[in-house]
Symmetry: C2
Subunit: 231 residues, 2 copies
DNA sequence: AATATACTGTGTCAAATTTACACCATTAAA
DNA sequence: TTTAATGGTGTAAATTTGACACAGTATATT
């Protein structure tokens, strides 16, 4: 923006694509809308930005109000600004993604009345979504697919302690292809940022696997000289 | 955006980081502002989005009005939404980049009175810019650095016919490091999307180099199975 | 005509990385 | 004790990357 301000020229919103991983499946968080337009439709959690909050702050607040989730690391990925994307007027939306451990999170549920409820849905079988939310989802999914290879996003989706098989099945779910077990392990371990624990998986009816932890300090050290990958 | 529209809540703008390549140097397009705030400061070309145009359309229009440049392939890369980024009020801006051949373009010059003039400036020696434009530039520069490796953006900066040395020096300018000549050529040619022409460089006082063309059809064919890289 | 200048264009080998590939070990349940 | 299910492991070939140097050619200069 370059000159004296005109009056406001648009409505500005945030939409969130929240990924979770559960039972070997990649899921996203959807809400059931409780207001027109698209009342009763499924949609991404999203709402309008306030004038006195940054868009990053707005993303956190909105996600919380619609789903009860807090303190996720949200990352902007694209802004959608087609004139007709909202049936009631000009609304420009900034899309964010976040990744979250589904297990160990309290149930998701809306805090405000704008959503009837919120729930996890597998990405492989998404219904039609309100507005242009299908496109927003797909754009976001493509982003995390790419980023999986150069950012430590997998570890935000897994429990703190995880097995290498779990890690692999997450990669397979995101990339949508099978990986070779031995090569995958060799590679992951070669990075040096996985810490092997003196602990094993519990509650399985077969040989328990070793648990690992992601060591963010080491990761940062190893990749500190890379280009800034944020934004 | 999810519910009935409130009145407009913000001003919405576009800022452009336009890269060009000339005399072995990477440059961006700056304007000299002609209005408050930041009157007489240098800034990225940018302006306010109209209500009846998509943000992609706005980006093209605004760039044209401030610099006379048209029909560039502009690519959104980040949205800046800090509350205080504009001294006069809430302005959210979507930043775009584009790449352009400086040579063979007509002179850049503003069409509207919002900018006094427009000119190319080397990226290595940028002055202080208005607003948060220095941050916007840096974010954009990091983006194209990354994308250089998986998108054919180099060829938008070079003339249609170019030598491998020119291509290499562009890579060196963007990545800010020296590359090995033989390895660079081997690799580039191995992709198979460079077409060798029956033509040589002219007007140099030493052995003329072969000219090449970028074959976008072949490029697309080769990489058609990759993830969608737009957005 | 000879020489200087400046850049073009090329190949090999070692090292590192990636890929393909299969079976025994362990645990719990039946 | 047997079955079911997954855990955990190594090697060799192929590919890719990285390091490295000099003769060839067009022009300008003398």
């Amino acid at each position: 923006m370059e000159v004296k301000l005109p009056t406001f020229n648009s409505v500005f919103s945030i939409d969130c694509v929240i990924f979770g991983f559960e039972a070997g499946e990649l899921k996203i968080l959807l809400i059931e809308r409780n207001e027109e337009p698209f009342k009763d439709w499924l949609a991404l959690p999203g709402y309008i930005v306030e004038q006195d909050e940054s868009i990053d702050d707005a993303a956190e607040r909105i996600l919380y109000e619609l789903t009860g989730l807090r303190d996720l690391h949200m990352q902007q990925f694209h802004t959608f600004g087609e004139v007709d994307r909202h049936p009631q007027g000009r609304v420009i939306t900034v899309a964010y993604y976040a990744l979250i451990r589904i297990n160990g999170q309290k149930e998701v549920k809306p805090i405000t009345q704008y959503a009837k409820n919120a729930f996890w849905h597998p990405v492989n079988d998404l219904p039609k979504l309100a507005f242009d939310h299908t496109e927003i989802f797909e754009t976001g999914f493509n982003k995390i697919r790419r980023r999986l290879n150069y950012q430590p996003i997998a570890f935000e989706l897994l429990p703190e302690k995880f097995t290498l098989t779990q890690l692999q099945s997450l990669y397979e779910a995101v990339l949508n292809k099978k990986l070779d077990k031995r090569n995958f392990r060799k590679k992951m371990l070669s990075y040096g940022f996985l810490k092997e624990l003196d602990e094993k998986q519990k509650g399985v009816s077969y040989r328990a696997a070793k648990l690992y932890k992601f060591d963010r300090r080491k990761y940062t050290k190893i990749f500190q000289n890379d280009l800034n990958l944020d934004k």
